[in-house]
Symmetry: C2
Subunit: 346 residues, 2 copies
C-alpha cells in the first residue's frame, strides 16, 4: 500500500473530486480521441480500419492479492492484460476506459498509486485513457478495463484460422509468471507464520517481474508489420499454453502436435521449478499470465520465422480427428489437456 | 433469485462452459458487428460516424440489493444505464460488452436469469452483445458493462454547449425511481422485523417499475431526429436533477434558473412522498436513477419543444456568475446544491 506521508480517506473527496484528482493531468495522445473523460461518454473518430473492443475484470482476492502486489503494479497490469488481447488480434490498441470499485480502506493516495501504474502503461503503449466509472465497493477492489484498438481487415488474426501443416509459434518464454506467483505465495506463507522473517526475493527478479509487471507484445505486432507476416490464427497466453492451444484447435477445426524441447522456458523459471519440485513444463502448459502470443503461420514462412529470435516454433497443426499431442524430451507422447485457469473449478 | 427446479453450482460448469451456456444463443443484429463473443476481442466495422464509448460498474450492496432486485431486472438495468449514457450524447448505441464477477452462491440458473434480462434489453434497444469477461468473485456480484454507439458529428450533444438564454428541458418525470427505492427499503425493514408480514406493493406499480425496470430514452433521440432538434447540451439524469444541472452549468460556463412548478413529477411519486413525509421536490432534485434526459436548446425552439408532450421546459440558462437558482411554488428563491449520489460520502 501507499507509503506516502498523508493518508486521505476517499470519503473526504467524494466521487467527482476524486475523479478530477485522478484524471486531471491526462494529455490525449491520439487525434482520433475527440472527447475523453468528463462527459456521459467518450467520442472517437474512427479511421478506415476495423475497431477492436475487449474487456477484462480484475477482482481482489481472485486475480490479485494486495499483500504482495503493489497498487502501481496492479494498475499497470490491469492495462497490460487488455492491451494483450488487442495485440492478439494483430491490432493496435489506442484507447482504454477504466472502472474501479473501491472500499473505504483505500486512501486517495493509494488510488493515486494505482492510477500512476495505469498512466505508466498508457505512456509506454501510446494509449489514451478516455473514460470510466468510479464507485465505492463494500469489499475490496474491483477493476474493469475496456480497450479499443484498430486493425486493417486483411491483417486481423482470429482464433479460427489455423490450417493443417501451419507452424505453431510462441513469443518470448513461458511459465515465468506462474513461478513468480508460487514464489510470492511461498514467501507470504513464511511471513504469515513468522512476521520477523524477511521475504527472500534476491536473485528472483525475472520471475517476479513476469508476475508483477508483465508486458504486452506490441513489439511482435510491429515485427509482423515490418516482416509482412500475417498469422493465420493468434491468441494471447493468459491461461497457459495448453488451454490456449486447444482454443485455437477447437475454433479452427484442427489438431496440434508440439514438442517439449521446443517450448521456451527461461533459466530462472526452471531454477524456481526445481526449487519447488515442480516440472518446469507444467508451469508453461498450465501456468498462465505470461501474456506471450501463441500463433500459427503457413509453413512457407519457416525460414523467415526462424530468423526472428523473439519467436519459437514449437510444433505444427495436424488434421482434425488426430489427438492434440505433446512429445516429451524422453520421446513419450502425451495428450494436451485443458487445465488452464479454473476460474470456477474445484 | 431463481425459482427454477434445478440449482446447478457454477463450479459444476467451469468458465468456458459457463460462457458458452450464457452466450450460445446470441444472434447478431448489426452488419457492423464483424466478430462478437468468442475471440480475444470483438471486431466492429465503423460507419463514417463518430464512435461513442461509455462504461458503468454495478456492485452488489452498493448499486443493488438482491433481497428485492430480481436478477432478470438487474441484468436489464445494467444494460439500460449504459445505453442511457450513449443516448445522452444524442447518439445511437449498437453494441455492449458485459463482464461479471460472481461468487459461489450464484447458480448457473441464477446467471441465466441475469443474462435473460441483459438479452431482453438488447432486443428492445437493438443492441449486439459482443464480448465480456466472466470470473469468480469472493464476495457478491459485480457487473461491468461497456456500450459502443455512433453519432453524426454535427448532432453530438456534450455537457459543455449550453448558451445563455437556452431553454432547460427534461424528459418524462423525475423522482419516481428514488421513491420506488424508498418503498422497497421500507418493505424490506418491515419484512426483516417480521418475516410473516407480506410486503405491500399493490398500487405502487409506477414507482417500482421506475426503480426496478428503468428505460433509456431512445424515443427522445428519435424524436430529435424527426424534428431536427439538436440540443446545445445534454446529460442523463442518473444522480438527480441538481447534480446534473450543475454538471452542465460548470462545463458550459453558465448558470441556471429553474422553476419548481415546471418540474415534472408523477402523481404516484407525489403520493409516495406524502406517505413518507418527504418533499416530492427533493426526490426530483436529489433522487437519481430516473434515466431521463436533461438538455438545453436555443430559445428559438420554444414553440417546437412545447408541442412535444414527452418534454418539459423547466427553466433557462443565465450568465456565468449568477447563482444557480430554483424558484419554489411559494416564490422563494433557493440555490441549487449538488447533493447527488454521494458515492463515497458519509
Amino acid at each position: 500500500m501507499s507509503k506516502k506521508d498523508t493518508i486521505t480517506p476517499v470519503s473526504d473527496f467524494g466521487e467527482f473530486k476524486l475523479i478530477k484528482h485522478l484524471t486531471e493531468n491526462i494529455k490525449l495522445k491520439h487525434n482520433s480521441t475527440i472527447k475523453g473523460v468528463g462527459d456521459d461518454a467518450a467520442v472517437i473518430e474512427p479511421s478506415g480500419k476495423k475497431m477492436i473492443i475487449t474487456t477484462d475484470m480484475l477482482l481482489e482476492g481472485i486475480h490479485f492479492d494486495l499483500t504482495y502486489v503493489p497498487l502501481k503494479h496492479l494498475g499497470y497490469k490491469a492495462v497490460i492484460v487488455n492491451l494483450s488481447d488487442v495485440y492478439a488480434m494483430n491490432a493496435i490498441p489506442k484507447q482504454i476506459t477504466v472502472s474501479i470499485g473501491v472500499s473505504a480502506k483505500f486512501s486517495v493516495e493509494a488510488l493515486k498509486d494505482l492510477y500512476d501504474g495505469i498512466y505508466m502503461a498508457c505512456d509506454k503503449y501510446n494509449i489514451d485513457l478516455i473514460g470510466g466509472d468510479t464507485c465505492s465497493s463494500l469489499t475490496g477492489l474491483s477493476i474493469s478495463v475496456t480497450a479499443i484498438g484498430e486493425a486493417d481487415t486483411d491483417k486481423l488474426a482470429y482464433r479460427n484460422g489455423a490450417k493443417v501443416n501451419d507452424l505453431i509459434c510462441v513469443t518470448g518464454d513461458l511459465g515465468g509468471a506462474y513461478m513468480g506467483l508460487q514464489l510470492l505465495e511461498r514467501e507470504k506463507m513464511v511471513f504469515n507464520s513468522d512476521p520477523n522473517m524477511k521475504p527472500k526475493f534476491d536473485g528472483y527478479d525475472y520471475i517476479l517481474q513476469r508476475q508483477l509487471k508483465p508486458e504486452a507484445r506490441k513489439d511482435i505486432i510491429e515485427l509482423f508489420e515490418k516482416n509482412k507476416i500475417v498469422p493465420t490464427s493468434m491468441i494471447d497466453i493468459s491461461d497457459g499454453l495448453s488451454s490456449e492451444l486447444l482454443h485455437i484447435c477447437n475454433q479452427s477445426n484442427v489438431s496440434c502436435k508440439i514438442y517439449e524441447e521446443k517450448i521456451p522456458i527461461n533459466f530462472a523459471t526452471q531454477r524456481m521449478a526445481n526449487e519447488l519440485n515442480v516440472e518446469p513444463l507444467v508451469s508453461a502448459l498450465n501456468g498462465g499470465e505470461d501474456y506471450e502470443l501463441l500463433f500459427t503461420v503457413p509453413i512457407e514462412l519457416h525460414e523467415k520465422i526462424t530468423e526472428l529470435h523473439q519467436i519459437s516454433i514449437i510444433g505444427h497443426i495436424s488434421e482434425k480427428g488426430e489427438e492434440n499431442l505433446i512429445i516429451t524430451k524422453g520421446g513419450t507422447t502425451l495428450p494436451i489437456m485443458a487445465q488452464g485457469w479454473a476460474a470456477f473449478g474445484e
